[in-house]
């Protein structure tokens, strides 16, 4: 069992997401530590990309702010190494395939494991296109997280077969961002997925209130919260770490009660 799977097994988990470099790399380190302190079980670190097609306006704007400050992939690796000096909270990168491709799959994966990154989420790399990256990951302690969507249908068994770490179930078709309605057949998708994998199943896309987090955690093993955290960081400025601790605690309570 990978470190990531272990961290999410036998409990209802909270996964938080931040965009590295927004508002600064130093702040990102503080914010990650705050989320961990508040009870987040895993932190996703977004490597900013110029054209994040799977993301809604909140995350796209954060990516742009980071890029306007010339945040590079190297800077993001730096963020990880600073976090690792103070915390062993499991970390996964979320980014698009092109920045990874430019570093080189093998070099990127090698650096990830050297710095203690536990997994990768690459929304524009469906399983049909994963062979090159997966061969670069071989023998490394790094999980490639698979995404399942409400319209994955016949693809579910094949995706589950390739799953590592945990399975990321997308709660609604569309892009990331806070929303109030989730896909009606979510429970069905998760039930089907459970037939094919024993890995933890985490739901993301749109979850932002404790009520939603509670509801979704009844369906799955935990929830992923992105846009709300990115928005909180943007609005709170220097107050962000304190507010993130409170928010993570509140969400964690909601999903474990």
């Amino acid at each position: 069992m990978s470190k990531l799977t272990a961290a999410l097994t036998a409990k209802k988990a909270l996964i938080g997401f931040v965009v590295a470099g927004d508002p600064s790399c130093e702040a990102t380190v503080e914010n990650i530590l705050a989320l961990a302190q508040g009870g987040a079980d895993v932190i996703e670190i977004g490597i900013p990309f110029s054209d994040p097609v799977a993301d809604g306006p909140v995350i796209a704007a954060a990516d742009q702010r980071a890029l306007d400050r010339n945040v590079t992939t190297d800077d993001v690796f730096d963020v990880v190494s600073q976090v690792r000096e103070q915390s062993d909270v499991p970390l996964v990168f979320l980014t698009y395939v092109n920045p990874v491709f430019q570093v080189g799959y093998r070099e990127f994966c090698r650096r990830c494991t050297a710095l203690g990154v536990d997994g990768l989420i690459i929304p524009d790399l469906p399983y049909e296109e994963q062979d090159d990256l997966r061969s670069a990951m071989q023998d490394l302690d790094l999980d490639l997280i698979q995404l399942v969507t409400p319209n994955s249908k016949a693809r579910i068994p094949k995706i589950a077969q390739r799953a590592q770490g945990f399975v990321y179930v997308v709660s609604a078709t569309g892009v990331t961002g806070m929303r109030n309605d989730f896909e009606a057949n979510l429970a069905g998708v998760i039930a089907e997925l459970r037939q094919y994998t024993k890995l933890p199943i985490e739901i993301g896309f749109g979850i932002h209130t404790p009520e939603q987090a509670h509801e979704m955690s009844q369906l799955a093993d935990g929830v992923i919260v992105g846009s709300q955290i990115v928005d909180l960081i943007h609005r709170a400025g220097a107050q962000a770490p304190a507010q993130l601790i409170d928010y993570a605690q509140e969400m964690k309570r909601a999903i474990t009660e």
């Binding site: 890029l67 590079t72 395939v97």
Partner: protein, 395 residues
């Protein structure tokens, strides 16, 4: 040809999981329809009787004389209904959408020609239609925006990024992800995830299938060169397709060098691009070393795209086609040349191809021939050319 959506090492399906089921359905349906005589009959009936095909292959005698070299033939896609090659592809894709039971078409557009074609065909086939267009392009192409609205489509202004074609593609892809069950994304160029580059190539290959027959009829032999402008590359791949196996035919794509290939304000993807993965495909892109996609520029909204279709990337790599950069200045000058010598106001995109013909023809013999595709007509660009020349006109 494509194998698993790949052209050489390029192509593929690099999209969010939400779209994969849909892409596979489109591929399955399309591969069946490609062999379906009834579908082909319906498409060709619309091409011939609605879009006004076959388009003329016109011997440009005055231009030929002026340049003093090869015989120049112009493939007149500008004479199609809606005034550009775009209608060929849209009719094809819209019929696929109809067969799939979709109710709505969405499309991105740069110069507006693809948007107008999509809005037109949506009206013809009774489908809803929404078009995504960058704010910058909306300002450059107001007339086309109004056309789309007249045709009953809704035009969404895209204000993210550099507010041009790349950003319109992002917005259209996001809109598609959100409403994938009832929507068909009519991609405007030979770009994006498989099966789009293949499908667009097939629908646009009507250009070269016709011109191959027409030139043989006119001259008794194949052309020596085929020249076409390249943004995403649908017009060029359509112009090249029927000649790919004819090794004696030089294939030349003309890309937008904007203010020069050594400046930041350009869109010369093959000249300056590097391998990358974006908008669903592995291809060549203008990008930073870290893989951030560049904001690009051309006087022509239609060529203002940081990538190129994967089949072109493969053709360039294999050396089968050659790609040359043409600056704004060269294109504007060619725009005026063809207007004055042949009485044709061509799209500024197409003027990029004419600009290269000007360089190429004099190096060739009078018994040799060039086919240059005029991808569209230039009505939409008259105001932009006036502005470029510092002339005040009332639109």
């Amino acid at each position: 040809m494509t194998t698993n959506g790949k052209f050489g090492g390029y192509g593929g399906q690099f999209v969010p999981e939400t779209l994969m089921q849909e892409l596979q359905e489109i591929e399955t349906v399309y591969l069946k329809l490609r062999e379906d005589p009834e579908f082909q009959r319906e498409l060709h009936d619309l091409l011939d009787n609605y879009a006004n095909r076959p388009s003329l292959l016109y011997h440009a005698q005055h231009l030929t004389e002026k340049l003093g070299g090869a015989q120049i033939y112009l493939k007149r896609e500008d004479l199609n209904h809606t005034g550009a090659h775009k209608i060929n592809n849209v009719l094809g894709q819209a019929l696929v959408a109809k067969r799939m039971g979709k109710q709505k078409l969405i499309a991105e557009t740069g110069a507006g020609q693809h948007g107008v074609a999509t809005a037109t065909v949506a009206a013809l086939l009774g489908l809803e239609c929404e078009i995504y267009m960058g704010k910058e392009d909306i300002e450059r192409q107001r007339l086309n925006v109004f056309r789309m609205e007249l045709l009953g489509s809704q035009v969404h202004e895209v204000t993210s990024g550099s507010m041009v074609l790349k950003d319109a593609v992002n917005a259209a892809m996001q809109a598609w992800v959100t409403d994938v069950d009832r929507t068909f994304y009519v991609l405007g160029s030979a770009v994006g995830p498989h099966p789009f580059p293949m499908m667009v190539r097939d629908f646009q290959s009507v250009i070269s299938t016709e011109s191959r027959r027409q030139i043989v009829q006119a001259t008794g032999k194949l052309p020596d060169a085929v020249v076409a402008c390249v943004g995403g590359g649908s017009n060029a791949i359509g112009s090249f397709a029927a000649f790919l196996d004819d090794e004696s035919v030089r294939l030349i794509g003309c890309e937008a060098a904007g203010k020069g290939v050594h400046t930041k304000q350009q869109a010369a993807t093959i000249t300056n691009g590097t391998d990358g993965i974006f908008h669903g495909m592995k291809s060549k892109f203008l990008q930073s070393p870290a893989g951030q996609i560049d904001q690009v520029y051309s006087i022509s909204a239609g060529l203002d795209y940081p990538g190129i279709g994967p089949e072109h990337a493969a053709l360039a790599t294999a050396g089968r086609a050659q790609y040359v950069p043409i600056t704004d200045d060269e294109a504007v000058q060619a725009f005026e040349l063809i207007a004055r010598t042949e009485g044709i106001i061509a799209a500024i995109e197409s003027a990029h191809a004419i600009a290269y013909v000007e360089k190429l023809a004099p190096t060739m013999r009078p018994d040799q021939t060039i086919i240059c595709t005029l991808s569209g007509r230039g009505d939409k660009d008259v105001a932009a050319i006036a502005k470029y020349k510092g002339v005040q006109i009332d639109e």
